[in-house]
């Protein structure tokens, strides 16, 4: 089943005498490089990937000519509504779905050309976690985490040691003997993550990994993903329909609609400057709570004087005392209607709705100042 060479190779990784944290530090170096903006070659490369399903109603293009480059060590998010093809796309990465045409290269290997044996070996380096966890209910937490190690052919004593490490890593101490049915959703996903990390993968694919969890548990799982991304230098590709997930942990994002990637880029740039209307909708999920629009509308009806302005801060500006400067330097009254600062992996992003009152001259001076400080200004209402 498993060739002798590869077994020894794996065993070596496993019995590595160094404590795990040293490994983490070494690998963490890659991440530092990435964060500093140094050139890091792309790990995953998709070239005109298409997937067409034949159904009774004719052809369905689930994935339509997608090109993607995902760099080593980054967290890459793919967002789209259900039916956009993102679920098919992520399954094409580990060949759970075969592309109809196009090439998928991961770590230099052309995935669709691998023999079934080579593909199984490659899959041990490309782990996956799932929306509904997909744990084996007949196995305990420990046995579930041991499962991929059994598949890879590790000896029992090494499995035990590795499972202990993984249980610590995902924070499931003391739950090793429980069955999945005795765990909460968040704990189940932790088991899923531990299981996915067991074979020291290079890539972690997350298939709507937090969509079945409540908001608080979602955040704790997202924090865990960021932690393993930083500690292990693991490249993470995730699909989601929640902009919150993209905002919180992703470095880069691709927006999918009807099988196509319609927009792609650094998360902060996409937030700052969404081009497609679908992207704008997704960004609004995070920056503008639904009630904002109503609140502002009602406010304008009641107090129609002055100007209502939406300010969008990106990066360092989000932390600066802009409003103080505005009031000190200009003869205007400022009334804050609503505001929100959102943290992304590339920096903070804020929106602020204010009402500015004053003489026409003071108002135009104030607007000029705002426009000069690298803040996006949009006048929503001008009395």
């Amino acid at each position: 089943m498993i060739p002798q060479e590869s077994r020894t190779l794996h065993s070596n990784q496993l019995v590595n005498e160094e404590p795990l944290s040293d490994n983490f530090l070494k690998r963490g170096f890659n991440i530092t490089n990435y964060v500093l903006g140094n050139e890091v070659s792309s790990l995953i490369n998709l070239h005109s990937v298409r997937k067409v399903f034949q159904t009774k109603d004719g052809e369905v293009k689930a994935v339509d000519t997608v090109d993607l480059n995902i760099k080593q060590g980054e967290i890459y998010g793919i967002i789209g509504y259900s039916g956009a093809g993102k679920s098919t796309l992520i399954r094409i990465l580990n060949m759970l779905e075969r592309p109809t045409s196009g090439t998928v290269t991961i770590g230099g290997k052309n995935m669709s050309e691998l023999s079934s044996k080579k593909l199984r070996e490659a899959r041990q380096e490309i782990s996956m976690i799932f929306q509904h966890f997909n744990l084996l209910w007949s196995r305990t937490v420990r046995e579930n985490i041991a499962f991929p190690l059994e598949i890879a052919g590790y000896p029992k004593d090494k499995i035990k040691k590795r499972v202990d490490e993984l249980i610590d890593l995902v924070g499931l101490e003391g739950r090793g003997g429980s069955y999945p049915s005795q765990l909460s959703g968040g704990q189940k996903q932790r088991v899923g993550i531990a299981r996915a990390l067991a074979n020291n993968p290079k890539v972690l694919l997350c298939d709507e990994a937090t969509s079945a969890l409540d908001p608080k548990t979602t955040d704790s799982i997202l924090d865990l993903l960021v932690e393993i991304n930083q500690k292990l230098g693991l490249t993470i590709v995730l699909i989601t329909h929640e902009m919150h997930v993209i905002r919180k942990i992703c470095h880069r994002v691709a927006v999918m609609e009807k099988g196509k990637v319609v927009e792609e880029g650094d998360v902060l740039n996409v937030f700052k400057n969404p081009k497609e209307s679908i992207t704008k909708d997704f960004v609004k999920q995070v920056t503008e709570p639904e009630e904002t629009v109503d609140t502002i509308k009602q406010f304008i009806e009641e107090f129609p004087e002055g100007r209502i302005v939406q300010l969008t801060f990106v990066g360092g500006r989000a932390g600066q005392p802009l409003i103080t400067e505005l009031i000190r330097n200009f003869e205007v009254d400022v009334n804050i209607l609503q505001g929100k600062i959102t943290q992304t992996q590339n920096g903070p992003y804020g929106t602020l709705f204010i009402q500015i009152k004053g003489s026409e001259a003071a108002l135009s001076n104030a607007m000029e100042f705002l426009n000069s400080v690298q803040v996006e200004v949009e006048v929503i209402h001008n009395a």
Binding site: L96, I151, A152
Partner: protein
């Protein structure tokens, strides 16, 4: 005291018949389990969308299973007489009942196995694939363990059906409690022998059900 109530019952004969029934049931359950599991797995694995998808093979197995499952057991015994003579060499005794029992029960159990396997969450199989599992690993580490409670409750039902099959086989010369009830009880008008045989068959069935239920509960961690 028993001898005064059951005047016609020869207890050593009853004991011998019980042993024969237990023997026939035990061997046929064992072989049916192995054969039915293999057939059921084949049915499941060759079905559309599964690991060994193969329309042709799937329909062949399905036809065989359906045909043997549909033939009434008493007729199956008669149809299998040449086959049994060839395998066992005789038509008399407990051993001669085994081929018919197994051929009758294995397809029945195979369907139950198939249903049990279909209940497995496809996502779990996908997860195993995503870890690089071979098909053999998926069968022995995912499919069988994840369906164990259903496989056990299925073999319990099959075992009980087999006990009643042995009674039918008894009538055509295989021995056992069915033979005793029919030949010694009914034919000779000894109602007490029929009663004792029936009660013993009931006890065997209840014990099998009890053991099966205990195992199913203990194995089910859902």
């Amino acid at each position: 005291m028993l001898s005064s109530w059951f005047t016609n019952v020869q207890w050593d004969v009853v004991l011998e018949a019980t042993k024969e029934t237990l023997y026939m049931s035990a061997i046929s359950v064992l072989v049916t389990f192995v054969l039915g599991l293999a057939l059921g797995l084949a049915l499941y694995l060759t079905a559309p969308g599964n690991l060994w998808e193969n329309k042709f093979l799937n329909s062949i197995i399905a036809i065989i299973v359906n045909v043997f499952r549909s033939i009434p057991f008493i007729i199956l015994i008669i149809l299998l007489i040449p086959f049994t003579r060839f395998i066992v060499g005789t038509m008399l005794g407990a051993e001669a009942a085994l081929p018919a029992l197994i051929v009758g029960a294995a397809p029945f159990y195979a369907r139950m196995v198939e249903i049990a396997l279909r209940e497995i969450n496809k996502g779990v199989i996908e997860a195993a694939k995503s870890m690089g599992a071979t098909n053999t690993q998926i069968i022995f580490k995912v499919l069988i363990p994840e369906s164990t409670p259903a496989l056990v409750s299925g073999i319990t039902v099959t075992a009980i059906a087999l006990v009643s099959y042995t009674a039918m086989a008894g009538v055509v010369g295989a021995g056992g409690l069915g033979n005793l009830a029919y030949m010694e009880g009914y034919q000779r008008d000894n109602a007490d022998v029929t009663l004792v045989s029936t009660v013993l068959i009931l006890v065997i069935v209840f014990v099998i059900q009890w053991i099966g239920d205990r195992f199913t509960t203990a194995l089910d961690k859902r």
